[in-house]
């Protein structure tokens, strides 16, 4: 007898008294975990198919459903945890690499949770943001070495800048990885809130050109959908070198997800695999990076800032310095917790470094080389809330990108199954029966609300520090103190310990 070693991760509880056998759950679950049994005339469940996305729980009209961990344990073993045992089962049966969605869920230290924010007491007054002006406006782009002012007017020609009303943008997520409704939600929200969303590497859908003013278009190694209209369509161009969830690894959108619309946007035939090579094969050095940056500037007549997105890896400070010298106007650093539609699991969970340390190292390095002003720093990969944003800015970031948090605003329940194409929340899928579950107008409202709420919180905390412009917090690490950190960690972060 051939036994399949897979066991369910979750168990589906159906309250027999509350369930009316209405079959809504059967229709709602794209994983087909709920099954209508015609003979017994009742809904049954197959636990092994459940990914714990809560869709059925939230759509069940009688609240008959709940999902729990499957009550199955291996003999406790601190080394051979269930994760490693079941991984071996899967790989022994498939011979395949493990794939995962979203950012790593491993319990690495979260430095945001070891940083505390300052507030004013007695010696300088705090500010009430509800009644006094409070400035979150942020400009991203290269700043000149000096400012020429004549007759009280700025005469220096400023390099192109992105103007943000709040220091939070929506991170690169491609059409293909996420649905058009998800992208449209973010585009509308970005326009409404005076910030930007990012196309990711999958091109720009024709219906989104109208949000160009609030769009950052991405150029990655596969060059999907990259053509002159695309480059001109956005307000900035981002070269994607790497991604926090999978540094050093390319992308691979399987042919099944390349339907008509995705194919038109990526400019590849329907059903063909969209493979992004691991490196850009025209970039093997900092000099080559400069070549690509300037090929994009030339193509857009030097009218748009060019960003370079790199994953936070061991040598990040030197790489960022090189990118700044190569002519990047904005450097985006993506930490190892950054999300993804699909990444090889072992890479996702083991490669890269935390964004907090990477940011501190890069900001310090650029300052020590006196080139910090030449480039804006945007951090991504792990920002969960407004205080994470504040801490990032105090360490030295100019702005943050949010990806996972933005998707959660749209309904993502972090089941981490984005690579299956069966996202029950209509986000990481191209299946029209699922994508229609996400209404872009309602989605935009939620995503905009999130930014609104965070912006208020940021203003409140700024006011508490006695600061009335975000600009005064940038790189102001004295506004932070560490808690429970080693000397080494404190020195990399450039903060004192609480009590000092």
């Amino acid at each position: 007898m051939n036994i399949d070693f897979r066991t369910p991760e979750y168990s589906i509880h159906r309250d027999g008294v509350r369930c009316t056998n209405c079959r809504i759950c059967v229709h709602q679950c794209a994983n087909e975990a709920h099954i209508w049994d015609e003979k017994q005339k009742k809904v049954l469940a197959d636990d092994i198919k459940c990914v714990n996305c809560h869709r059925c729980v939230l759509t069940c009209p009688t609240r008959a459903l709940s999902i729990g961990s499957y009550p199955l344990e291996f003999k406790p073993n601190a080394h051979w945890t269930p994760h490693y045992i079941t991984s071996i089962f899967k790989q022994a049966s498939s011979g395949a690499m493990l794939l995962a969605g979203m950012g790593t869920d491993k319990p690495y230290p979260v430095y945001w949770d070891h940083l505390l924010i300052n507030a004013s007491q007695v010696t300088n007054p705090s500010i009430d943001p509800l009644r006094e002006p409070m400035e979150l406006k942020t400009f991203l782009g290269r700043k000149p070495d000096s400012l020429k002012i004549e007759n009280g007017k700025l005469t220096e020609k400023m390099p192109p800048q992105l103007e943000l009303e709040t220091p939070i943008m929506f991170a690169a997520m491609s059409f293909g990885a996420i649905s058009l409704n998800a992208m449209t939600s973010l585009a509308i929200a970005a326009e409404k809130m005076g910030t930007f969303y990012n196309t990711g590497e999958g091109g720009l859908h024709s219906s989104l050109y109208k949000y160009g003013k609030n769009t950052i278009v991405q150029v990655a190694s596969g060059r999907f959908g990259v053509h002159t209209d695309y480059l001109w369509a956005g307000s900035a161009i981002e070269i994607k070198i790497g991604q926090g969830a999978k540094p050093g690894i390319g992308g691979h959108l399987p042919g099944e997800k390349v339907g008509l619309d995705v194919s038109l946007t990526r400019m590849i035939p329907e059903g063909s695999d969209a493979i992004s090579p691991a490196p850009h094969h025209d970039i093997y050095s900092i000099e080559d990076l400069r070549q690509l940056i300037y090929s994009l500037k030339e193509a857009t007549d030097y009218s748009k800032p060019v960003a370079v997105k790199i994953a936070a890896v061991h040598n990040i400070a030197a790489i960022a310095s090189g990118a700044a010298r190569a002519g990047a106007d904005i450097i985006v650093i993506d930490g190892f917790r950054g999300g993804t539609g699909a990444a090889p699991l072992r890479t996702r969970d083991n490669v890269g470094i935390p964004i907090e340390l990477a940011l501190a190292a890069v900001d310090s390095r650029l300052r020590s080389e006196s080139i910090r002003h030449q480039v804006s720093l945007v951090v991504a990969g792990s920002i969960r809330c407004s205080s994470d944003v504040i801490k990032a800015i105090a360490i030295g970031a100019d702005a943050c990108y949010i990806g996972s948090a933005a998707l959660m605003a749209l309904g993502c329940h972090m089941c981490q199954k984005c690579y299956t194409g069966k996202c029950n929340w209509g986000i990481a899928t191209q299946n029209p029966n699922l994508t229609k579950r996400l209404d872009p107008v309602a989605g935009a409202e939620r995503a905009a609300n999130l930014l609104k709420a965070w912006s208020h919180e940021i203003k409140e905390m700024l006011g508490g520090m006695g600061i009335n412009a975000l600009e005064s917090l940038r790189g102001n690490r004295l506004m932070l103190r560490g808690i429970g950190l080693t000397e080494k960690e404190l020195s990399i972060l450039g903060v004192k310990h609480a009590g000092e």
């Binding site: 794939l99 990259v226 695999d273």
Partner: protein, 247 residues
């Protein structure tokens, strides 16, 4: 209307500004003399004018180009036709690495030889079917990751004693077709490509582009076509289909 620009001593930024300005003023043919390594000539330009280059243009010539015909009387450097969308490039000399990187449409004719990774990640899309014809020899990773389009390699010239194509030819190829004049040893091929019989349709595609090559560079088309070609296609449109399993 045509305009002649002396590129001597001009930084690429100024030179390209002059080129863009010329086209915006209605010039249809721009003649560039004494070009000496200036990058990005024709970068991101749309329309159906032409640029005639005397000298050696620098890297990324015709990147993102969308229309235009560029003729180079000299050699071209790396990444010629990078992510090009439409247009024609004719090089009366050799060209460097990654010619036609990710090009989606248009045609590139190189009289002589090319470097590494030429035709890498070329794609086809709807009516667009990019073509690169190389008259001499090609370095390693020819047609790497190729997802569409046509690569033709003739081996009419090139370094003595070197094979017509380097190692790992067609590695990761998952679309498009290559025609290589003569035999290619199996060991030179990436594991994703195979050699198949030429059909009548292949023959007519080949004839079409070879005769254009012969016209541009003064060869006899019949001579070139007299030798049989090897046709290379990918085994599979999904070479990496079973590589992953979910967690």
């Amino acid at each position: 209307m045509s305009r002649r620009i002396d590129a001597q001593g001009l930084y690429y930024k100024e030179l390209n500004q002059l080129v863009r300005q010329a086209f915006s003023e209605g010039v249809t043919e721009v003649l560039l003399d004494n070009v000496n390594g200036q990058r990005y000539i024709g970068d991101g330009i749309s329309g159906d004018g032409s640029i005639i280059i005397h000298g050696t243009p620098g890297n990324d010539m015709a990147a993102y180009m969308n229309g235009l015909q560029i003729v180079v009387h000299g050699n071209a450097q790396d990444a010629t036709g990078n992510t090009m969308n439409e247009g024609t490039i004719i090089v009366h000399g050799d060209a460097g690495d990654t010619v036609g990187y990710a090009m989606r449409g248009g045609e590139i004719f190189i009289k002589g030889s090319v470097g590494y990774r030429v035709g890498i990640h070329m794609k086809e899309y709807m009516k667009k079917n990019p073509v690169i014809v190389v008259g001499g020899k090609a370095g390693a990773f020819f047609g790497e990751y190729m997802a569409g389009g046509i690569l033709i390699l003739l081996g009419l010239s090139g370094r003595e004693g070197y094979p017509i194509v380097g190692d790992y030819c067609g590695t990761g190829m998952h679309g498009g077709v290559m025609y290589i004049r003569g035999q290619v040893e199996e060991y030179k091929l990436g594991k994703e490509v195979k050699i198949v019989e030429m059909t009548a349709e292949d023959q007519s595609i080949l004839e079409r582009y070879v005769s254009r090559y012969a016209d541009y560079f003064g060869y006899d088309k019949e001579d070139i076509l007299a030798q049989p070609f090897s046709k290379l296609i990918p085994y599979n449109k999904r070479p990496y289909g079973n590589l992953y399993t979910g967690v």
